[in-house]
Symmetry: C2
Subunit: 109 residues, 2 copies
Amino acid sequence: MIRISILYPNVSGGRFDFDYYLSKHMPRSIELLGSHPGFRGVTVEQGIGGTEPGSLPKYVAACFYTFDVLESFLSAFMPHAAELQGDMPRYTDIQPEIQFNEILISRPA
Amino acid sequence: MIRISILYPNVSGGRFDFDYYLSKHMPRSIELLGSHPGFRGVTVEQGIGGTEPGSLPKYVAACFYTFDVLESFLSAFMPHAAELQGDMPRYTDIQPEIQFNEILISRPA
């Protein structure tokens, strides 16, 4: 399985509207991508801190989409890329760091 | 729920021994932390690329531990911190970026 990570760096003065992101952007994103048969899950996180007491997290927010194979993600995402990317300025001015990952170990409790 | 992300930057000349990491380090880490009642899961990933064709991933490897609350992770990890951190030079010379995250959305397929 593969995972796409979308990490929003905690840049000084950066804007990130969690209300819009959680109530509008991500539900629409999940509606569009989650119906693909290769979809395996999605997680959205908010950074709460680093390991030093009181330190800021390196990333203020992160989204992880899991799909069976990379081609599934691309075929799910590309038809909606313009809409989803066009919606980004409504919740952030931060440029996300996006990469593709292969899942090597996945263990539930 | 909270998630601890341990990201290994893809630094030039950095060493990362996936064989040791997957066959020794992570199984031992999961043995030690996975028995805690607050443990909710763990995922290990290998970065395979960025969004530009042929580009390198920003992170060569990543580990994500999910726990019910941060205190559970700390009480699971701290007694074994010396052993697990002491094992790191056996698989990498890369300094990981570690942060704590709150899970806001988690949706399976």
